[in-house]
């Protein structure tokens, strides 16, 4: 799926004026239907959302609500069945380095060292070695991996591997970051540390972020806006603006307003989870 969106001179001149007014990230009524052996399964239905440039949007929802489908569509890794996605005024038509993605599973290339992993995207575009080195070194120190430049991913902990993934994505200087439960496989304390680290990196880079998570507390702690999704097929249940000041530190999680907002969202998500007691009789 090569990215053809970049080398498409404004073929739709008619829409050009409209495109200037749309938000930086604009997900416009997308649906996704998968064909399974049991027939069509709808993962997303008429889903819309948007994010302004430089803001942090988190999406929470019950398992199987189509969160990952949403991210894969925004990343351009698969097309929506209907609807369109615009990033920076351009319609998404395939994956590209303007939208960096961090996955839940560890995706460091095992045959490359930490430094080579971070340089990967730059190397694909034949950026000169010296530029590559210095970009990588800046990011490696930002994510706290100094001293591990020449280590192979196999020798790193899960949290460190995700730091490599974040640095590697940022090295491309993307317009936005797409993060699919990046801390989902980490233990509780590591997750806290990674959330703080992500915020500190984000404060510097100020990329637009689309962040999917199961963890309501995580969404609240990180994001400017949180979208709560319904169960399958995923639709927008509610969109909330998160008022807490930045920079945020972990103690915010004990703040009473934070806790109150968290329990509101928990209630919303809980409504979307089928009752485990039903159907057991």
């Amino acid at each position: 799926m090569p990215d053809s969106s970049t080398n498409e001179p404004s073929a739709r001149a008619v829409e050009a004026t409209d495109l200037k007014q749309i938000p930086f990230l604009f997900v416009d009524r997308i649906s996704k239907v998968y064909q399974s052996r049991q027939g069509p399964v709808s993962a997303l239905e008429d889903f819309s959302c948007s994010a302004d440039v430089g803001t942090f949007l988190a999406v929470v929802g019950p398992s199987g609500c189509g969160k990952t489908s949403l991210l894969r569509i925004v990343a351009g890794l698969m097309p929506p069945t209907s609807g369109k996605v615009f990033v920076s005024g351009k319609e998404v038509q395939g994956p590209g380095p303007d939208r960096g993605m961090v996955f839940q599973s560890y995706t460091s290339f095992p045959w490359l060292t930490v430094r080579e992993n971070v340089e990967f995207g730059l190397k694909l575009r034949h950026v000169p070695t010296e530029t590559r080195r210095s970009t990588a070194q800046t990011l490696i120190s930002q994510v706290g991996l100094c001293g591990f430049e020449d280590a192979y991913p196999d020798a790193l902990s899960g949290g460190m591997k995700q730091r490599v993934a974040i640095a590697r994505t940022l090295a491309n200087n993307p317009d936005m970051l797409i993060m699919d439960e990046p801390f989902g496989a980490l233990d509780y304390q590591t997750r806290w540390a990674m959330q703080e680290l992500l915020l500190s990196v984000w404060e510097k880079a100020r990329k637009t972020v689309l962040f999917v998570t199961h963890d309501i507390e995580e969404a609240l702690f990180l994001a400017d806006n949180v979208i709560v999704m319904t169960g399958s097929p995923g639709q927008v249940k509610k969109k909330l603006a998160i008022p807490f000041e930045r920079p945020r530190i972990v103690s915010l999680k004990a703040n009473s307003d934070f806790v109150a907002l968290k329990s509101d969202i928990m209630r919303l998500v809980r409504q979307e989870i089928p009752d485990p007691m039903v159907g057991q009789a």
């Binding site: 990215d3 990343a75 994956p95 380095p97 045959w111």
Partner: protein, 261 residues
């Protein structure tokens, strides 16, 4: 990671364990032969085999036979690798290629390769060319399947990651598939090398004027059992050497992987 501590502790034990299994084997052989539990034409003593080896090397150009066999195996092996790696990668990454090639590859893998010896002799004579083609046929269809598997098993997440980092489709094989699959490919090559030696002896037993298999066959005809044993030991020792060479290459070229058994 911590999971490897057990094997780290045992690492110094490995040569000791390996040597002791060899000693056990030679010991049992010595007892059975020196004590004449088994008659010498069936099982010669280690001394007889050792003397025979010296005679072979000094008077009968045995080193020439070894070189002939080695050359056949290595030439066939290189041809096999050069042809199977590209095709296997294509099969593993592009489904239409796999669909097109698979029936024939599977067919050839199931047909006993020795059944082709008469045909090959008719087509290509009994020279070195026939041996090389035979060895290539015996290994190619296995290797191509192993390499296709290695290429196909490159995780989708790695490919997706590369795409989101800006990789174009044409960059995928070079930057992701090949580096990810190379250790598996080297392991497959190691396995196919051993299969190659099996077929080599077969090829040389049927029709040859030189080579280790030829020596084994001639010696059996004249009941020179010690020579048969020399031949077997030669192949085995070369095999162990090549195997260690492959393992060494794996740790040298792929320091990021842990070796497999």
């Amino acid at each position: 990671m911590n999971t490897s501590t057990n094997s780290d502790n045992a690492r110094w034990m490995n040569p000791v364990l390996g040597a002791s299994s060899v000693c056990l084997f030679v010991g049992a052989w010595a007892i059975l032969s020196y004590a004449r539990v088994v008659q010498p034409y069936f099982l010669p003593t280690p001394t007889a085999v050792f003397k025979e080896a010296i005679v072979l090397v000094q008077r009968e150009h045995y080193l020439g036979d070894i070189t002939a066999s080695l050359a056949r195996v290595l030439v066939a092996f290189v041809l096999c690798a050069l042809s199977a790696i590209p095709l296997g990668l294509l099969m593993g990454r592009f489904k239409p290629v796999a669909a097109f090639v698979t029936p024939f590859v599977v067919f050839m893998r199931y047909v006993p390769i020795s059944a082709f010896i008469p045909l090959l002799i008719l087509w290509t004579g009994i020279g070195d060319f026939q041996k090389v083609i035979f060895l290539w046929m015996g290994t190619f269809f296995f290797l191509v399947a192993l390499i296709a598997d290695a290429a196909a098993s490159v995780g989708r997440e790695l490919l997706d990651t590369a795409y989101t980092l800006g990789a174009q489709k044409r960059q995928m094989v070079r930057y992701v598939v090949l580096p990810a699959a190379l250790p598996g490919i080297l392991d497959s090559l190691r396995v196919m090398m051993s299969v190659g030696w099996t077929y080599l002896v077969l090829a040389e037993i049927v029709a040859a004027e030189s080579g280790i298999g030829y020596v084994i066959m001639e010696s059996q005809r004249f009941l020179k059992t010690p020579r048969v044993v020399v031949g077997i030991l030669t192949v085995g020792i070369i095999g162990v050497g090549l195997d260690y060479l492959f393992r060494g290459m794996r740790t040298l070229f792929f320091p990021w992987t842990r070796p497999h058994a």
